[in-house]
């Protein structure tokens, strides 16, 4: 199918290449050099860069502004948008704002509950949920209409994505839930960090059984562990994360000064195994505050050089 938007990410996926995306978290201040520096580290090794939206509900420089920074550098941003902090007026308005800077990728998310962040006493909005945001942006793009029905001058041309967590509960609805997101308009999926590869492969089997891999591009999410402590933290403290005991043991059994290398090795091994899984259309590498190692992961994962489209 020919691309529906000017998105480079969409072009790469539709051309049948394994796509590579990564992400940068904006700074907790107004200095743009932080985001520029992170992007410089990874720009030659990824096709697009996600900018997180106040992740874990910790207040940061806004995702849209950081995406504009990337555009000014000539890079391809994926604007992450959570429905926690904005109602339908603000969401549609920000979509148009992003489109005015020709930001062509949007990832629609619920967002972590605010109790995890530095403003736990704040209100949340949740006027729409992530599926309804998908429907909203598809309507804006495909029908050229606001939710209220009025026409949009120069509708947003955005490739629309969503997240999927194959490891959250209940497992039996994880694939139906993906089907729902596809029905709502998701064109690409970036998954939660995959450590339990067996379970992910089981999920992918169910995805293929329903033919969903032919309707949506699934980018497998990976995050390298920097230390055994991080592995334990991810296992016990992060909601919806599935880190098998043997992975934690492997990290814990490695001398402290070698743990970072072991974490990278596990990440590269995961990519190599996941490349063989039918229906995996690419990778989303979330190297949390470790962007400098992304190029190495991409190269060792056999995903370099990146295709020109």
């Amino acid at each position: 199918m020919s691309p529906k938007t000017p998105s480079k990410l969409e072009k790469i996926l539709r051309a049948g290449h394994l796509a590579v995306t990564s992400e940068c978290g904006p700074p907790r201040g107004s200095d743009p050099s932080h985001i520029v520096h992170k992007a410089e580290l990874i720009k030659n090794h990824v096709d697009a860069i996600n900018i997180t939206d106040n992740q874990t509900s910790v207040c940061r420089l806004c995702s849209l502004a950081a995406c504009i920074r990337l555009k000014l550098m000539g890079l391809e941003p994926v604007l992450q948008m959570v429905v926690r902090d904005r109602n339908r007026i603000a969401l549609q308005s920000d979509i148009l704002g992003a489109a005015s800077f020709d930001i062509h990728n949007l990832l629609c998310l619920s967002g972590d509950h605010q109790r995890f962040g530095d403003n736990a006493q704040g209100q949340n909005v949740f006027d729409l949920d992530s599926m309804q945001l998908l429907q909203t942006v598809r309507r804006m793009r495909d029908e050229g209409k606001f939710l209220g029905g009025d026409p949009i001058q120069r509708p947003p041309a955005m490739f629309v994505g969503a997240a999927a967590n194959p490891f959250a509960d209940p497992f039996e609805i994880r694939v139906p839930r993906l089907a729902k997101k596809v029905a709502a308009g998701a064109e690409f999926i970036q998954t939660q960090c995959i450590y339990n590869l067996d379970k992910f492969e089981k999920w992918m089997t169910l995805v293929r059984d329903r033919g969903l891999h032919e309707k949506v591009f699934i980018l497998a999410g990976v995050t390298p562990f920097k230390s055994a402590g991080m592995a334990r933290y991810m296992k016990t403290k992060v909601p919806g994360m599935d880190v098998p005991d043997e992975v934690v043991k492997r990290m814990a059994g490695t001398p402290k000064d070698k743990q970072a290398e072991e974490g990278l090795a596990i990440c590269v091994e995961s990519i190599q195994r996941l490349k063989e899984v039918k229906g995996v259309a690419g990778f989303h590498i979330m190297a949390i505050e470790w962007e400098e190692r992304v190029p190495e992961i991409v190269e060792r994962g056999g995903l370099y050089p990146r295709p020109a489209v």
């Binding site: 926690r84 339908r88 619920s110 967002g111 972590d112 509950h113 109790r115 995890f116 949340n124 949740f126 006027d127 729409l128 949920d129 992530s130 599926m131 309804q132 429907q135 909203t136 939710l147 997240a163 999927a164 967590n165 959250a168 509960d169 209940p170 039996e172 609805i173 139906p176 839930r177 089907a179 729902k180 029905a183 709502a184 939660q192 909601p239 919806g240």
Partner: protein, 222 residues
């Protein structure tokens, strides 16, 4: 019922600074059932206030009364004579009753003796949980009679989110995931296939978002 919690005696005393007579006014409805503001709590609070005022060396006349409903003008009228003897009122009714009492007696300061918390039910003695947020447009028919607006911390209409773990919500292991409950219930009803229906974007204008709400039933008006 409307579930309320008693305010601390310190907060109530602070509200009553300088007051020389106060009526503690209970309500015989919801707050009685949830043991926050019925006749028994009126007695307890009045005794506690008398103790504190005595310790403070203040002479304060503390009266007690519990009426059938503070959200009904008819019952509020019953205390009109009594009101003249008191400078202020501490109402142990829910926020509705407190305001309605104040509306009925415009010259009387009325102070809250409880925090009104939610519409809920008693899970067991001493434990109450929220079940309805009064959004004004009930969707329980499609969610297996489990309300995601009330019971999902993100009020997701197409849940669960990725934070659902072992049936629990990401905000706390003590909070059940509403969408796990919905899915379990749909399964028990043999209706799990309905899970895949997308819930449409909600019209929140019947909710708090639409401004203060009012219902007018012409058929009941005389």
């Amino acid at each position: 019922m409307i579930v309320a919690e008693r305010k601390s005696i310190e907060e109530i005393v602070e509200q009553l600074a300088g007051v020389r007579s106060v009526l503690v006014l209970g309500c015989n409805e919801c707050v009685t059932v949830c043991e926050a503001g019925g006749k028994k709590e009126v007695g307890l609070l009045a005794s506690a206030l008398r103790m504190v005022f005595l310790q403070q060396g203040r002479e304060v006349n503390v009266g007690e009364r519990t009426i059938e409903r503070q959200c009904d003008t008819e019952y509020l009228e019953e205390v009109r004579d009594m009101m003249d003897s008191f400078e202020a009122v501490v109402s142990l009714a829910c926020g509705v009753g407190i305001q309605f009492t104040a509306e009925r007696y415009p010259s009387k300061p009325v102070y809250p003796g409880v925090n009104t918390c939610f519409m809920g039910a008693a899970l067991e003695r001493g434990v109450w949980a929220e079940r309805c947020q009064g959004c004004g447009s009930c969707i329980l028919a499609v969610t297996g009679a489990v309300c995601p607006i009330t019971r999902c911390a993100k009020r997701l209409l197409n849940g669960p989110c990725g934070g659902s773990t072992s049936g629990k919500c990401e905000i706390s292991k003590d909070v059940e995931c509403a969408w796990q409950l919905i899915i379990d219930r749909l399964k028990a009803l043999g209706r799990l296939e309905e899970y895949e229906r997308l819930s449409p974007i909600k019209d929140w204008s019947t909710d708090r978002a639409g401004g203060p709400r009012k219902i007018i039933r012409e058929d009941l008006r005389s």
